[in-house]
Symmetry: C2
Subunit: 228 residues, 2 copies
Amino acid sequence: MPKETFFNLSEDKRARIETVAIEEFAENSLNSASVNTIVSKAGIAKGSFYQYFENLEDLYQHILKIAQKRKLGLISSLPSPSGNMDTFRYLQRLLLVDLAFELNYPRLSQVERRHKFENPITSSIDPETGQRFSGDGRFHAFLSQGILHDDIATWVDTDLAAYALEVLSSWLSPYLLERLEQDSGKTIEANQELSSDPLVQDLLQNLLDILMAGMSRDPQIRKDFYSK
Amino acid sequence: MPKETFFNLSEDKRARIETVAIEEFAENSLNSASVNTIVSKAGIAKGSFYQYFENLEDLYQHILKIAQKRKLGLISSLPSPSGNMDTFRYLQRLLLVDLAFELNYPRLSQVERRHKFENPITSSIDPETGQRFSGDGRFHAFLSQGILHDDIATWVDTDLAAYALEVLSSWLSPYLLERLEQDSGKTIEANQELSSDPLVQDLLQNLLDILMAGMSRDPQIRKDFYSK
DNA sequence: CCTCATTGTGACCGACTGGTCATATTATAT
DNA sequence: ATATAATATGACCAGTCGGTCACAATGAGG
């Protein structure tokens, strides 16, 4: 945790440091990020840095917490909680969260992606259910409800599916953003409303159709192929 | 390209350097990898290093070429070329290539993944077809044949699907490997035949069923949900 | 043996790294 | 104005970085 001194800083100075740090951690892993670069870009003395943080990792963890906080903020700002929501919209909402995160905080999103890359799958056995459990659980929860609502077939391996969905969701956003930019020919500025862009909606629908159709039915297709 | 001196080296010395380098690049990006570490672990003098390579990037590119070469070797060692193959087996084969690569050269596979991470999507417009084109084209080719054989619906956005499949394939392998290890309780040694392990076959089948079922049919599912 | 080319070596260089600390500056309270 | 606490600063440290280079070792042809 950053020291008290850091939190006593003026709003703009703290924001400046955080912005610079986010940019640094988006481009470099914790090992290769540079304190000197950060203090120089942020316009503070090196000594000051060590009055605010124990070390680089201290700042890194702080940035990760910011990412977590902002993503939670986005989740609560998106329409309706997940209780009485049909399975299709549930998954759509999960993907939209990551997309909105990418649109609003692209560099922070990159920090998070890099973090996931450097600290990969931490799957383990859930002590409560005795089931395998990987990732942050969002997609496990989705799959559970989907199966409960009979919208997802029971033969689907939930841990595999959750892992695949998490990977997909994490990497889908930058793809959509880049495709959007190439389509409109201009850079997209941070705007949460852009997730309602027709092209994005279309592509998202496309992927959702594939996934939902694939997970909801019997794997008849395979037998079809074999009997051909 | 490495200098001639490097290729004149004895087989074991060259292999030793390459192995050490692969390990270093699996753990560090090009920026944070260390010449000193490599020469120290490989047991050669620093001066020697610069008689073999122009610089670190020179070695890095060499390692990437090794990865490419070995993957090609795996592709040609796997059953039957892609001409007269049904769509399901085609996709299965593509995923198996990455899986075999992970099993036989796990650290090299990690180097490749890291490389993809640091040098992300380079999608552009294919000058021949005028279509969008991202990744190495393996999955684009697959999708084209699938559509041709009427096994993949035409409404599927091929570039989005190809991107998603590439991401999935790249990240599926380490997941399967880890799951296999956790299931059998022991570490898996390099063995291409292990891709025929029942658990792996099962999980692969599971994912293939989802993907193929999802991509082969009309997106009826969506309308079902809306009319609920 | 000598010659010449190739290969191997590690001390050395300037630049940069994370981290420290004595000192200077500022703010607060009396 | 004075005293005290909180904050800001950059010179400085030991260590590591990529890269060089004068020199030593090795091998081949004669």
